[in-house]
Amino acid sequence: MFKILKKEEWSPSVFAMEIEAPRVARKAKAGQFIVLRVDEEGERIPLTIADFNRETGAVLIVFQVIGASTMKLAALNAGDSIVDFVGPLGQPSEIEKFGTVVVVGGGIGVAPTYPIARAMKEAGNKVIAIMGAKTKDILIMEEEMKAVTDEVVVTTDDGSYGMKGFVTNAVQALVDRGEKIDQITAIGPVIMMKSVADATRDLGIRTIVSLNPIMVDGTGMCGGCRVQVGDETKFACVDGPEFDGHLVDFKGLMSRQRMYRDLESQEKDHVCNIGLDR
């Protein structure tokens, strides 16, 4: 059993939890993920590691309530426990001194860019964070991000805060002002990662994306998370989750993510009496 040390509601559907998992915290690196199971009837769901503290043994996860499992997780409180918390999984981000690095986070994708930004900064890079949110009230981790980067650019779709528009507009603005970008890491909804990769392809900027396909075990034994990268079939859980965004078949990824949509809504209706769903 793994204890929930702390729970915060960051917006009506976004929650942050610190999970007591000292061994995971000891080994975790930026870019890796965990797989958790809420209870004995639960499914295994992957979540990217948003932060870790080797001293306190806590691992931070940030999640959005989108289905039955995240709803059940959100209903738990500090002091409660979940049955399984497996990790760290996947390959760590490649961290070295590239020069100028931009991390782009969309929605709750901001959370996993945080440890990457911090590690990039520690490695001696100039780090610029672009944080995208639909509206001001669902923006997360702004203060944390400011503390580990040289510059933070916030965009909101409706212009309610920061720059009006999408994260791709912010990338373009950096390019326009003459910023020489050596690498971009983009994490968020697939459509956002695809847009960033499309935008940077012609600019010739190396772009890393963190993929979020459906997973079961997260250890390479089932291939449920397979994605096409260039000419190769890769398992995101062991070969990734980070890949060269210019080689990823985003269309295939989006299609496979929809595989259980009908069953998921059926399942959500089945247990959905707790009023968290919007």
Binding site: K27, M221, S255
Partner: protein, 468 residues
Amino acid sequence: MALSLEKHKMPVQDPKVRAHNFDEVALGYDEETAVAEAERCLHCKVPQCRKGCPVSIDIPTFIGQIKERKFDEAIKTIKESNGLPAVCGRVCPQENQCEKMCILAKKGESVAIGRLERFVADRAMEQGEEIKPVEYAEDAQKVAVIGAGPSGLSCAGDLAKKGYKVTIFEALHKAGGVLSYGIPEFRLPKEKVVAKEIENIEKLGVKIELDSVAGRLFTVDELMEEEGFDAVFLGTGAGLPHFQGIPGESLNGVYSANEFLTRCNLMKAYRFPEYATPIKVGKNVAVVGGGNVAMDAARTALRLGAEHVYIVYRRSEAELPARKEEVEHAKEEGIDFQLLTNPVEVLGNEEGWVKGLRCIRMELGEPDASGRRRPVPVEGSEFDLPMDTVIIAIGTGPNPIIAQTTPGLETSKRGNIVADEESCATSKPGVFAGGDIVTGAATVILAMGAGRKAAAAIDEYLKEKRSK
């Protein structure tokens, strides 16, 4: 009384009923049938059956004890060599092992050794077998076992009995390896059999740490250098699914057999939405492959409500690698065998879902290096089968995580860990390996045999280490 040339029949669930439930198909002998079957044993002076058993169970002795209704003694005899008899009695391919060597098999049917082993083990479990925990010496040496599948469990059980403190590290949230995620409930009940056998091994004093992915949470070197383990056994299996590499394999509705069976067996997707993991099975399902895994996947798909389930296999019936009994069960349940047939493309619709399987007929050519006749495509014989779900069961390879994170560990071209056949020793001192990670995908009992051998070798290694 004339000796019967046939085995006593074991009652089974009616095929029409069982094709729609996940309850165990074969129901097991009752006491009277077991005793009667045991009486068929001739007690050969030089028993051949023992030679056919990879863990050398003293078969004539335990059968003699059944004959005398000394069932408690019979289970003790078996447990001297086999820590998981209720499992092995069910899933061993006895026709190629102990029962193949039985003298009766020359004239008629062998003694039903597997069914008798199962009877004794089931009876012991029902009656609540008492297992005494091992008493450890203060300075007992520590052994880490990576992987809680058949080889790891058998290695751990043997080492515990020898007085070593054993910790098994298992990546999944449940121990058992393929016994838990691979072999379906209707062949191997999870709560009634697998969980109980594992509990018995824990009762000896073996510690099982779940959710612990070796190579990620810790490395083999860290276990030995920082966590004080004196030796390590690698029993991580062959869990990496192979795909055919044909177009359309990434379409929705295409599963590896590992994913399909894991969802169903480990995650209990057949009880969705009571259990949260979903699974999708259409009307028409093709399972590509001819081994036990293919049979398991096909019969599982049927039980999940598929109307027409095909086995698509590139060789003929004689070459099917699956157990005969499973092939027969599959046929009785209505599985459609498309033999000498190979898929060339998975066809999809506009939404990215499987809609068909394009196949080509095959014929058998000259024998290849392995002695099996090589299947050769018949030119121009392509045809399409309408399909909603395709399950790929063409084999698995070794998961590379351990090899990648353990410097000094020699692996073969295929990625298997190189280990001595007898001592299970790897190229790294103190590190032993056995089971599918060494041999490639094989059987439960061969993995258990390797685990036993490794335990004996580790014992010797640690005695020597201590005396230094």
